[in-house]
Symmetry: none
Subunit: 249 residues, 2 copies
């Protein structure tokens, strides 16, 4: 009774899609067919299909029909704790580009330095299947590797931050990552070929050496095609020592 008809029609399609009876690529009945079959108006079948589209299960091809959506291959960012060399797997198909800029107030705060201090900013675009899927932008105080052969631009693309800075005598022992979904802003929108305002997955990451932040970065990733995969160890230190857990309240 109370349940709106378009939800019932949507249910009738969602079930076979989710259990595989309607596999990806399969064509759904047309609006008119659905309307006849469920004895509803065409608007009702429209609403049902629109809902399934919004849920990401169905796509429409104008002039052709509604189809079960192919699940897009997703790009997985692997993150782990202490046993990992670099939390961020190097992006494939990258064009790395390093420049020197004075710290803006936001970066000065994230890196705990003075505004205007020189930073290396490194940016690269990750692609998968020809399409850009993520933009990674990293900022690092120039003072750390200035006049060494370990500046961001010197290292080859496969070298992680941890190795590079370790070689420069900076030991990274801690990382903080903030994950959020934010509206896409203009500069990244161009690189990702998306409309500004589209939701994107953002990871703000900061590497620390003791109390001191030594590198910070933003990963801006296309929502539909990216996943983060955290693999974390929870084993207590074998020796009976070990301080009590800090639950970060």
């Amino acid at each position: 009774m109370g349940r709106p008809r378009y939800l019932r029609v949507a249910d009738a399609l969602r079930v076979p899609i989710l259990d595989g009876a309607l596999p990806p690529g399969a064509r759904l009945p047309s609006r008119a067919q659905l309307a006849r079959r469920h004895e509803v108006s065409e608007q009702v079948s429209r609403n049902a299909l629109r809902l399934l589209i919004a849920e990401g299960l169905v796509e429409s091809r104008p002039g052709s029909g509604y189809y079960v959506r192919e699940v897009p291959e997703s790009y997985r960012f692997a993150r782990t704790d202490r046993f990992s060399g670099s939390l961020l797997r190097p992006l494939a198909g990258e064009d790395r580009d390093t420049i020197t800029r004075p710290a803006c107030d936001r970066m000065a705060e994230r890196l705990g330095i003075g505004e205007g201090e020189p930073l290396y900013r490194t940016r690269c675009v990750g692609t998968a299947g020809g399409a850009p899927v993520a933009v990674h932008t990293s900022w690092e105080p120039a003072v750390l590797t200035h006049n060494t052969t370990r500046a961001p631009g010197d290292a080859d693309a496969e070298t992680g931050v941890l190795e590079r800075l370790a070689a420069a005598g900076v030991v990274i022992d801690r990382v903080v990552e903030e994950v959020a979904v934010l509206p896409l802003t203009e500069p990244e929108a161009v690189l990702l070929r998306l409309a500004p305002g589209a939701p994107v997955l953002v990871v703000e990451r900061t590497h620390y050496s003791g109390q001191r932040p030594v590198e910070t970065s933003d990963l801006v990733a296309v929502v539909e095609r990216c996943r983060l995969s955290y693999r974390l160890s929870l084993a207590r230190t074998p020796a009976g020592g070990g301080p009590r857990p800090d639950p970060h309240r």
Copy 2:
């Protein structure tokens, strides 16, 4: 010309919302008023408003009107590695609810058990400022704590999985979290009071005891209101042992 009318009506509302001329909480013209003002049918103003709702700019209050959405304070989920008692800070304002169900194929796979084996499913809704912000659903093989006082329903809400299962003799030493942004589906949509299809932040988490998965859960969180905060240690275990400094400070 070609631009559909409902997009033009939506534009006419989006501009004043984004530049603050229509502040959060402001009431928009009703469907009928919009239709008259723009000389379109009421369905067109309906479509325009539905688009703005999907964009997260507007909310509807049935019987009352359409309003510019209040931008909510965000809720932070703290995650850490081995020093944390529970990765997921207990949700505030929770209504915990535990039932016993046979494992569906998806859960059987995640938990590495046979389809149909009994599971405890625990669900709670996290709220902030009165509004639901996340749904956490956890699945755990009943065999682990069956006939003990450590089943999910027995523990008080503040006890984390790690402590509870440890008390039942199951030592969790590893966790894998998959973070993605997915379209919201119907069952969670009701709990979160959101439209199905809205993007939500999803964390699929699995706790392991050695190679064996012992608990898995889905956290479905409202995108605009939730952040994940990972604090991870990268320090190698020092050979000498001794009490380790807390790396999360």
